[in-house]
């Protein structure tokens, strides 16, 4: 790993031409020499990161790239960083537990990132010390709180019974595994991304699943109705018992205190040996309440991801932006924002401040066999000032949706089901405010499906032509050469 400039010695010879490069605040002129005060920060600073998820680990990696800080990562959940989003694949047998680790075990020592397994029960911000349950005290100079989320529970009767779990932590997976032996039916509560993952997991082991979704259609608070309907069909195609407009009323115990059935809002009783609670997550901050740290739903941070307490930062699922960027939510509990925040934190902790700017919204998921990607803003309900064009393949498993501004025609969002689009291309169109008709004619540039896959962009254009009476045609097919030309163009 590259060492930062100036790390080997605090003294640097003045460079006669490049004075502007030097960070003035961190340099002191002493005659011919410049004393790099930042050096002492970089070498003697002890940064402690609480949480070894993607935010904490990204921060640790980037702090190491930019400094010689002592870095300690504290986690109760697991010894090593793993990809939380891939837990399902271990249960389904696609991968082993160790395959979830993005870095080999030697990586941490080699990069001098000290991993500590401990459960922190309190933080003394005045004394700058973390206190672990086992009595250990961990002092810090800078602290990053990256504690992630916990699964929501809404006070359902029976929600704490044995065999009732969310899916977020490694331990949740262990519990799922434990209760899967001989399981006759699982009930999943909550029609979102984790809910459908959990349904797919049980389904992969031929365990019947009843999937309770409060809304009229799966994930209909986030994706538009047509896409949502597509996923409803697909869930049922797999033989999963999808029950829309159905809520959990209570969970019934057996004599051993394990769940034996749920009662739904429709008064039905479904017997089951496991209940998956997947009605979203909330920041994992309960142990930090009443410590002087400003907490609303999450830990409140400014655009530099600083909390109200000096030298304490927060990132990832547990952080709540005091002033989110326009169109963005104060808490965005997704992998990508967690990773971006980790990078920003590293800059801020190492003394080259950077405001958190996540850019255009993007996300992706996979609903059983149907992949989903979104770039830009594609809300569930189309706003007044926006228009949309939606094309769906005859198989009912692929679709393309483009949203654009009614007035200016500028494209505002891309929603893809079963088709892959290139992020850089979509973002350039969004950034440039390119009009829908220009985008349509060059839409092949965005196509990221593998070779030999059919290209459906011209079908979308035909649809647009029919709807508007225009006669546009596709000018650009899929291919890297065109993309590279496009990306460097003005």
């Amino acid at each position: 790993m590259a060492r930062p400039n100036g790390c080997l010695s605090p003294f640097r010879r003045k460079h006669p031409y490049k004075r502007a490069d030097a960070k003035q605040a961190h340099h002191l002129d002493i005659g011919y020499w410049t004393l790099d005060i930042g050096y002492f920060h970089r070498v003697f600073m002890h940064t402690v990161i609480l949480g070894n998820g993607v935010s904490g680990i990204t921060a640790a990696r980037h702090i190491r790239k930019e400094s010689d800080h002592q870095i300690t990562v504290v986690s109760d959940e697991s010894e090593y960083f793993f990809s939380r989003t891939a837990l399902m694949y271990v249960y389904m047998g696609h991968m082993r537990a160790q395959d979830l680790k993005p870095y080999e075990d030697w990586f941490w020592e080699k990069n001098r990132i000290n991993l500590v397994r401990a459960r922190v029960q309190g933080i003394d911000f005045a004394a700058k010390t973390l206190h672990a349950e086992d009595g250990r005290a961990i002092p810090y100079d800078k602290l990053l709180l990256a504690t992630g989320s916990v699964s929501n529970k809404f006070g359902w009767p029976g929600q704490d019974l044995a065999g009732v779990r969310g899916l977020y932590h490694w331990q949740d997976l262990e519990q799922m595994e434990k209760y899967s032996a001989g399981l006759q039916r699982a009930v999943i509560v909550g029609g979102g991304l984790i809910g459908i993952e959990m349904a797919e997991m049980f389904h992969s082991r031929h365990i019947p699943v009843s999937f309770l979704v409060r809304e009229k259609s799966f994930w209909s608070s986030v994706i538009p109705p047509e896409e949502s309907a597509m996923i409803n069909r697909h869930i049922r195609e797999h033989g999963i018992d999808l029950r829309l407009e159905t809520e959990l009323k209570e969970i019934l115990p057996d004599e051993q205190g394990r769940c034996r059935a749920v009662v739904t809002s429709r008064g039905e009783e479904i017997s089951c040996g496991f209940v998956g609670l997947t009605a979203g997550v909330r920041p994992n901050v309960d142990f930090l309440k009443n410590t002087g740290l400003d907490i609303n739903r999450g830990i409140l941070v400014n655009e530099y991801l600083e909390t109200n307490i000096p030298d304490v930062y927060a990132a990832g699922d547990c952080a709540e932006m005091r002033q989110p960027r326009p169109g963005r939510k104060p808490i965005e509990a997704v992998w990508y924002t967690g990773r971006m925040m980790g990078e920003v934190i590293a800059r801020n902790i190492c003394g080259s401040p950077l405001a958190y700017d996540p850019g255009f919204w993007f996300n992706s998921a996979k609903f059983l066999d149907i992949e989903y990607q979104v770039y830009g803003d594609v809300p569930a309900k189309l706003p007044e000032h926006q228009a949309t064009i939606y094309w769906e393949h005859s198989s009912g498993k692929k679709s393309i949706r483009l949203n654009y501004d009614r007035q200016t025609g500028a494209v505002t969002g891309f929603n893809l089901m079963g088709i892959r689009y290139r992020q850089e291309v979509c973002e350039k169109w969004l950034r440039d405010g390119t009009t829908i008709e220009t985008v349509l004619q060059h839409l092949g540039l965005a196509n990221f499906d593998p070779e030999f896959y059919p290209e459906h962009e011209s079908e979308l254009i035909d649809l647009y032509n029919r709807q508007t009476g225009k006669s546009l045609s596709l000018k650009q097919k899929r291919g890297l050469a065109g993309v590279l030309r496009f990306l460097v163009s003005e």
């Binding site: 989003t85 891939a86 047998g93 080999e104 262990e174 082991r205």
Partner: protein, 426 residues
């Protein structure tokens, strides 16, 4: 998060339906017939026995395909690969490894123990080649059969993916045509037995003076000798420039063909560690150096009138032939599928792959691009890379993947749940 399996209970029985078990039993009886003939050392009724084995194995696989793929929505089908004994280095995996390894040992060094199987396929050999069967014909039949039947399985497994479908048809047809039917027909026509898709240095004999002399009476043979050299010096750089090494390794080559079809259930067993990558680079380029030295020595021996170098070049050739040609590419290359994954030979040994890899790494338009920041570091790509490339290490950084070893099978892209990877060759 330790090495122990997650499972407290073995979920595999739950994941295998009754019909799948029936399918495995039917195929199992067919394979048992072959094993019995192998063990008995003679085949009493070759035609009905071989037909029965073929029908049973095919029927079992067909039923398995129906139950596992056709009856379910199309998509990625990797459920339980780390739970099943056969595909997770369990008892069945080891047993299969031992049996295949044993078959190869017998094939190369103890063909007398294959008499039963040689008799079994004698009628077919007479029909195709117009001559008696031998152990290499047995090998060709079983090899081609495995590529075709398991290829059919693969076609259904990835029926949603046109790249995989077309690529698999390609390896199946190259194996059937160029590595089975055409060489057989050439023999029937009293021509040399030529495998048009194997050239020096993979087919190390093809570049030797012995091959040149052996072809001397045949214009087809002489053509092939120079065609092979042209493919090495001109064809490989040019084709690899445009398509990457996949034009050969995962579309044409028979070793690749077997790996991509019969070896597919074992692809995740390849070692993804940095250490394995280091070993790989040492080994594969050493074999390339070895084969070049061996061939140069043989030609130098001819040039010097087979005098001073005779005593060195001959043993050198024999050592290569034993260590690399037989033990590595055959015995270990296929026998270790269920233990080290389907591309052990291609990754650690094949000199042709080394040569293709040099061009792919340095002078090729082929690469795997990553889609912005969409990677979630899940590891499905790395896990399913048969060449042991830690694809995730690149994808999560948003880097293009340009690796000498990548055979362009495209499975990393297929299994990616977030649409991050794309094979690009402009």
């Amino acid at each position: 998060m330790q090495n122990a399996s997650l499972s407290l209970s073995n979920p595999a029985p739950m994941m295998t339906t009754g019909r799948q078990k029936l399918a495995l039993a039917i195929s199992g009886v067919g394979i048992l017939l072959l094993l019995m003939v192998w063990a008995a050392g003679k085949a009493l009724a070759p035609v009905p026995t071989s037909l029965a084995a073929l029908v049973l194995i095919t029927a079992g696989i067909a039923l398995f395909i129906r139950e596992e793929y056709v009856a379910r929505p199309e998509g990625i089908k990797n459920n339980g690969i780390w739970f099943r004994s056969l595909t997770a280095r369990g008892v069945w995996g080891w047993l299969t490894g031992v049996v295949i390894t044993g078959f190869y040992v017998s094939l190369y060094w103890f063909p007398q123990y294959l008499t039963g199987l040689i008799q079994l396929f004698d009628p077919l050999s007479q029909v195709l080649r117009g001559r008696a069967s031998d152990q290499w014909f047995v090998y060709g039949v079983l090899y081609t059969g495995a590529v075709l039947l398991m290829g059919a399985k693969f076609l259904y497994k990835y029926r949603h993916n046109p790249y995989q479908r077309i690529r698999t048809w390609s390896v199946m047809l190259f194996q059937l045509g160029f590595s089975f039917l055409i060489p057989g027909l050439l023999m029937r026509l009293q021509q040399p037995e030529i495998y048009f898709t194997y050239w020096w240095p993979l087919s190390y004999y093809q570049g030797t003076p012995m091959a040149h002399e052996g072809y001397s009476g045949s214009s087809l043979g002489t053509f092939f000798f120079f065609f092979g050299l042209a493919m090495f010096f001109i064809g490989t750089p040019v084709l690899t420039y445009f398509f990457g090494k996949r034009w050969y390794c995962s579309w044409v080559c028979g070793c690749g063909g077997l790996a991509e079809t019969a070896g597919d259930p074992f692809r995740h067993l390849s070692d993804k560690s940095l250490k394995a990558w280091k070993i790989e680079r040492w080994m594969i380029y050493s074999v390339l150096v070895f084969v070049v030295l061996m061939t140069l020595l043989l030609w130098a021996n001819v040039a010097t009138g087979r005098s001073i170098l005779q005593g060195i070049s001959e043993p050198f050739y024999k050592t290569y032939s034993f260590l690399i040609g037989s033990a590595f590419s055959g015995v270990v290359g296929v026998g270790f599928y269920p233990l080290m994954g389907s591309r052990v030979w291609c990754r650690f040994g094949c000199p042709m792959a080394a040569w293709l890899g040099i061009w792919q790494k340095t002078k090729s338009k082929f690469r795997i691009t990553t889609n912005g920041g969409q990677c979630i570091s899940c590891g499905n790509c790395s896990s399913s890379c048969e060449m042991g490339i830690d694809v995730r290490a690149y994808a999560q950084k948003g880097q293009d993947i340009v690796r000498a070893s990548c055979v362009g099978c495209g499975i990393c892209s297929a299994v990616c749940p977030r649409g991050v990877l794309r094979l690009e060759g402009e």
